[in-house]
Each structure stands twice: as C-alpha cells, then as structure tokens.
Amino acid sequence: MSWRFWQPSLHREVDDELDFHLEMRVREFMARGMPAAEARAEAERMLGDATRLRRILRRAGKERDRTMRRTEWLAELRQDLAYGFRTLARNPGFTAIALLTLAIGIGATTAIFSAVNAVILRPLAIPEVDRVMLVGELYEDRAADVSVGNFVDWRAANASRPVFSELGAINWRNFTLAGEQPERVIGAAVTAGYFAVMGVAPLRGRVFTEEEDRPGGARVVVLGHRLWQRRFGGEPTAVGQVITLNGLPHTVLGVMPPSFDFTNGTEDLWVPAAFTPEVEAQRDEHYLTVYGRLSPGSTPDVARSTLAEVQRVLNQRYPNENGSRSVHVEPMMRQFIGDARSQLLLILGAVVLVLLIACANVANLLLARGATRAREFAIRASIGAGQSRLVRQLLAESMVLALVAAGLGIAVAWAVIRTLVAAAPPGVPRLEQARLDPATLGFAVGVALVSTVLFGLAPALRSARADLQGALRTGQVRASGGRHDWLRQGLVSAEVALALVLLVGATLLVRTAIHLQRVDPGFEPRGLVTARIALPAESYASPEAVRRAFETVLEHLTASPGVKSAALSSQVPMGPGGGFNGLIPEGKPVAPESQVNARMRLVSPGYAETIGLRLKRGRQLSTADRTGGPRAMVVNEALARDLFPGQDALGKRVVCCEGAPDDLRWKTIVGVVGDVRSRGPDQAPQPEFFLPISQAPDEAWNWIARTMSLIALADQDPLVLGPAMREALRRVDPSLPVYRIETLEASLANALAPARFRTALLGSLAGIGLLLALVGIYGVIAYLVTRRRGEIGVRMALGATSGDVLRMVIGQGLRPVLAGTALGALGALAATRLLATWLHGVSPNDPLTFGAVALSLTGVAALASLIPARRATKVSALEAMRAE
C-alpha cells in the first residue's frame, strides 16, 4: 500500500513519525529500568532540538513531494509519448501521409521565413541602424536624389539647429584602377560625415578626416574588404600604399570590414567628395544620396519638418533649380530592402497558403483516425481513464507527430534554402545569408506544434467526446456522425479554395512570362555585343579630346576583321548610364513649366542601323550631321507624342540640353524611330531622344561621365567582337580597360530573371498546394466509401449498376470541391490584385485564367475521387452485410 493512498498532511507525517520514535525510545529506556520521567527526558535529549528538527523535516518533505510529483509527471509523459510513437508506427500509411504533408508545409514555410529573416528582419551591421535615415529631396511626390547645393545648405542649417548628429553624402562613380590588368571598379565619392553616419569603424587604418575632404586635400582612398582581398590578398601592409585611380596616385588610408556593404551600389572603395566652391554652387543637378543619423531626441518626423522648412527657404532663393521641392526622410533599412520586401512577403503569403492546405490535410487525417479510434477511447473511458487523461494522451500523440514532422520539415527547409539561394536572381540583398539559424529552427518547431496541435488536436478531441456509448453499444465505428462529415467536407472545400488561389496566381505569372517572351523589344538583339569604355577626366579634359578618342576607337573597331557594323551610344538597352533632360518644343514659352522629360542618348551615326532601330518617319542620324552644322535630333514615338501631341513631330524644333536665353540652340527633329523597351521587356518604353556625338553639348560629356558603350554586330562569329573591342581601345589608350562585355541577348534574358524566378517559385508552390489538396480529396472520398460500404452493398443488391454507384460517390466527393472552387475564385479575385505590378499582358482577374484553373482543378479532383469510387463498385452485397 502506497503511503500516498492514505496521505497525511506533511505536518502530521512529521509529528507522527517523531512521536513514534520518542515513544519507542522511552519504552526502551524504561525496559532498562529507568523511571518514566527520566526516560522521557533522556529520549528528548537524544533527539535534540525538536522544533528545529521538525522544521527541517517539513522543508525536506515539501521538497521531496515536489520532486516526486515531477518524476511521476515525467514518467507519465514518457508513457504517453511511447504510446504515441507506437500508435503512429502501427498506422504507417496514415503516419507517412501526415508526416509528408507536414514536412512539405513546414519545410517550405521555414525556408521562406529564413529568407525573410535574412533579408528583411535582421538589422544591418550598423550601430542603432533604426536611427540612420535616407534623406532625399521630394520632387513631384517622389523621393529623389539631392543636389550638392541643397546638401551643403542642409548641412549648414543642421549645424545651427541639429536634428541629425551627422549628415553624409555618397555619389557612386566608376574608377579605373591601374595595374598589370587595368580594372574597372565601382567606387563612391563620400563626404567625411558618411562614415560617421554609419558609425562603423575601419578594420585597418582609418577613414578620412574633414581636412582631407576639402578641395586640394591629399589624394586618399579607403578600400572595401572585397577589393582589399582581391588586389592585396588581405595584406595589412596595404594601408599606406599608393594606388593609381583614374591615372592619379591615391594613398590607402584604411580598409572597411566586410559588413560595410549596405548600399545596393556595392562599391569597392571610397574617396573624399571634396566639393569645390563651384560644385557646392551646383543646384540643378540632383545626384547625391544623403544619409543622416538622427540626433538624440530627434525623430524622423521632426527631422523631416525641420529640413522641409530649410528647403522652403532654398526654393524661394533658387526657384529655377529647386522648383517646389520638399524633403523625404525614411529609415535607411526600408530603402535598403526596397522591392525585395513586397516580393518576399508575397511569397511568404503563398507559402502560408500551402501550409494551411497541409494543416487541413492533417486535420482531416486525424479526424478520420479519431473516428476509427472512437471505440478504443470509449473502452478506455469506461475503465476509468478520465477525459483529461485521454486529452493528455492525444496531446502527446500530436506532439510526437509535430516533433517528427518538424525534424523532417527542417531537412526539407535546408534543401529548399540551398536551392533558393542558388536560383535567386541577383539584387536581392543579403539573401545569401539565409540559413538554418536558431530563429529559423525555433520557427519550424513553432509552426509544427501549432499546425498539428491546433489543427490536429481539436478534431481529435471532438471525436473522442463523440457518442461513446453508441460506439460501445453497436461495436461499430459510428462516432463520426453527420456533423463530422460536414467538418471534413468543409476542410476539403478550404483546401480546394486555397489551392485555387495559388494556381490562379501562378497561372497569371506564367501567362505573363509567355507574354514577355513574345514582347517586341523594339530592336534586334541577335548577335549584338556591347561593352563600356570610360575616359578619365584627368587625361581627357576637353570635349574635343573625348570625342576624338571615342571616334578613333570606333574607327579601329569598324575596321577590325569580322565586324559587320559598329557604333557608340551613351546607353544601350538594358545597359547602365544615361539620364533625363528637359525638352521644350517650339510653340511653347521657353520656361521650366514647358519642359518634357526624356532620356538622352549620344550616339554615333550607324547606331540605329546596328541595333535594328526601326525608322518611322524622316531619316536616321548620319555623318552629314557635322559639328557646327544644323543641329539634328531623332526622337522615339513616345517622345514625339509627348512633345507634339496630335501633330507630326518631323521637322519641328526643340530646345534642350544647352544654350542660354539669348542663344537657344534649337535642334530640328530629322527622324522619328520606334519605341524600345530599353529597361527590359516588362517595362514600358520611355520617351527618348538621340543626339549625334558630333553635335553633343559640351556639358553632356560630364553628364555621362565620359563613358560610352561600344556596340558591334559580327559578320559571323560574335566571339571575335570582345577581343576586337579590347584591341581597338588598346590602340588608342593601353591604360584603359574595356568592361561589361556582354551580348544583348544575355542582358535581355537577365532583365527577365526576377520575373522568371517569381514564376518558378509561385509555380512550384501552386504545384505542391495542388498535390496536397488532391491527397486531401482522395482521403475524404476513400473514407466516405469505407463508411458507406453497407449502404452501397445494399444499393447494388437492389439493382444499382456500377455506373450509378460511381456517379453517386464522385458526385458526393465533388460537392465540397465545387464549393471550394467558388470560394477560391472569390479569394483569388482579392489576392491577385497584390500581383498586379508583376503582371504584363494579362489582367489580375483574367476570366480565361480563372475559368481554366477552376475547370482543371475540378477535373483533377474528379480523377482523384475516381480511385476510391471504383473501389466502391467492387463492394459485394454479401460482404457489406457481413461487415455490419
């Protein structure tokens, strides 16, 4: 008999035990002849301080009881878990389907979560990054870059009324790094404050000071970690060495740590901006990216309103340059993540839909199992297992399922993350850092527990509580009444609805991809090779020198063997460079309000012919458009419409890019060409205009940073073009590199990489969702058939044909499918609106897509129900009756 069956309170336990002890001692001493009183005294003396002892024992007893309760609880848990394992192992079919379903759902969700975590959630390696703001101009309600003049004035105003503890500007530039192989590197000119804003200490050496960030200061450079590794092999002695940038010696001051890489410019070195007074007076070119660290107590709103006030004054002082600009302040983190945020969150949404389908499947499976186990529960309840004990056992079973599923899910996630990182298009910041870290593992286990316990336990409980007596009386699996069938069918409807949403989204993206493949880019990319050349301002100062150098390179290239035709352009389709200029058409007042913005291209004669630009009106630019001759210009159709709506633009005149009020330098439109999708097939054409390099405004060479693209078409083999371009440049200036050599076909394909990735990702998620939903449909119909064996047998005995039975079973199976399809169509109408920005050539609620997806989903569902339905027709009446 355990003492716990008759358990005295701890107080009485201690008292009784000690009283018994004393009594026995007294008895012992009296037996030896001691008088009673003396024996009592002696016994008490031996026991010592009784009050203290009682206290000690009570405390020890309390501790003992607690430990024992815990041990007992653990033993029961172990028992439940072992039982859970055994039950799962006894039903390998059920377990395999449940685990597979869950592993896919958990794995996919966890992988995407790890990507979201790496890209969006994890802060940048900047101390107090939430205090670092991107500060921009706000122009026509759009965040824009900042002019040097405005930046300098903001900085001055901030010094007297600080809302930022520091303001820094960065401007990306290309540098030619001399060496055995001259190399083109992306670098940035930054103000000394830039490093202070970021608050990151250099790994080696130091960053430059305010003194070094002044015109005429020492030529110094801070290296990025990548470049340091590549050019100096990570040698600490790099600091103090002199490197030649754009032909000028620069002393290496320091090296930044690898984590100092949080602009999307991925620059490799930093030089002082060292604004000269002339540059500081520049107010009409807005190209600086400005960051600020909020001063203590300041907030983004305070900073915005304070700077906006400063800007209002600047607008009044420089109305032409500033117009009505305001100030834009947003956390740097948000700008850094940018577009990746909405993409990832959308994918996360899709993954959650897959997870929900998986959960519905598991719920359905557990529900079915609960039904078949109703008898087991009834028996256990009747021999004294309390409701709570049954619940605990079910809970333990779900936990076992959840933990095994989490383990498998983590394995799936590991594989998915690897695939994702390898397949993702470039430009998603930090995606390569996605991995199975503690946060991700915790997430996986959490998802597993929630999805099995929430979705699994609830239905299991319902069936456990179902009609126990009925189950015992009939000895039949009857616990699942109509109510549970209803629940099961509801789950199927939900699965179908979720799968439909996924499928519609994926189909819309696939149709977009097909559309984009067929989109006419407006030029002929086949066989074209392009490359960039940049002339350093230090050695090519005058516009004539620049033009002559470029023209000579082109002459050499054109004369090279294997080159069919070649040309120069400040920007090729999908290529870097280029900017916007304001154009004023004749007939409008020459004032800023009349400006029409368009993208400028400086081109050599023959550019249009080389890339296959289609002439719509007039002529192309030619060698006839000489320096000093009548100024000619070619516009595309989009610009022609913008400049002269409803009129013929040919022969009309335009002011742009140069001149003064007394010397407007009108340019005549000599030709109109077709539009080109120069930012990629998924981007609308922009208004563009072309100027011959022979008539390029002097200032234009600075706008394009003396950098142009060579573009060449091969006679036969495009592989000869790269070496030919190198040789052509080497003959003009051997110290300069040719960089970004690529075929236009490749860059066209690259421009579509994000769209392809999205399509593939959503497509596979939709496929998984569909598969899981089909498993669910199959399961439910198989269950229905099992449950109605008797009825089917009777019907067939009474003369129903196999066809009748088939129709009945499939009809019943399709009812929740049809309901789910209707529900899913509604859901998809709402969900596809989120996709709208990524859709081209198809509307978010394209009826054809909706119809086709709904129809095929229903068709596939009918097929899935065909297998168990055919089994139903094999039921013989005799067998069915016997089963009853």
Binding site: M1, E17, F20, H21, L47, A60
Partner: protein, 111 residues
C-alpha cells in the same frame, strides 16, 4: 552540519541506512537501534541527522516510505529500498572496499 568532512559523513550515513534497509523495511527508530547494536555502540547516529537523511534519500528515490503497523500495534512509517537504492548500495559497498583496502595497505606498510 557544515564542516570539511560533512559530505563524507553524510555519504557514510546514507550507506549505513541503505545497508540497514537491505534486509527489509524498517521504521526510523529500528534503523537507529540497528546501527547502534551492530556497531556495538561505536557509531552513535545523531538522531537529528538520521531523519533528514531519510527524507533526502526518499527524494532521491533510493528508499520509499509507507505507513503500516509496528510490532506493538502502533501506526509507524516504514522505509524500504527501491531498486535504485539497492543499486546505489552495491556501488557504495564496492567503493568502500576499494578505499578501505587501499588505506589498510598504506597503514600496514613497512618502511
């Protein structure tokens, strides 16, 4: 009872109690008496330490207690060894033999 050798003494008391219980269940008084008798009163177990030791060992799962009738018809708390207590006793005895053998060899060694 603090002191440098309290762990040793406590450990010794635990082993003695385990040994006492190895023949069957006994109540606290019987354990104390048996220890006195069999050591010819060399070892006088402080009764103030005996009972805390019993509670502690109960918590460790070496012994378990049940209420029953004593030989004199009084309700008494009886202690008995659990399987884990029995294993513990075997381990302690082996360790004690090793230790006493080693100490004995050292003490009887001749220069």
């Amino acid at each position: 009872m603090p002191g440098p050798d309290s762990d040793f003494l406590q450990g010794t008391l635990d082993v003695l109690i385990l040994k006492t219980l190895s023949w069957g269940s006994r109540h606290g008084y019987a354990i104390a008496r048996w220890l006195e008798d069999s050591s010819a009163e060399t070892i006088r177990v402080e009764e103030g330490s005996l009972y805390p030791a019993l509670y502690r060992m109960e918590r460790k799962g070496w012994i378990e207690a049940s209420w029953g009738m004593s030989e004199l018809g009084r309700r008494a708390k009886f202690y008995q060894l659990t399987p884990s207590g029995r294993a513990r006793l075997r381990a302690e005895i082996a360790a004690w033999r090793r230790l006493s053998g080693a100490v004995g060899r050292i003490l009887e060694a001749r220069g």
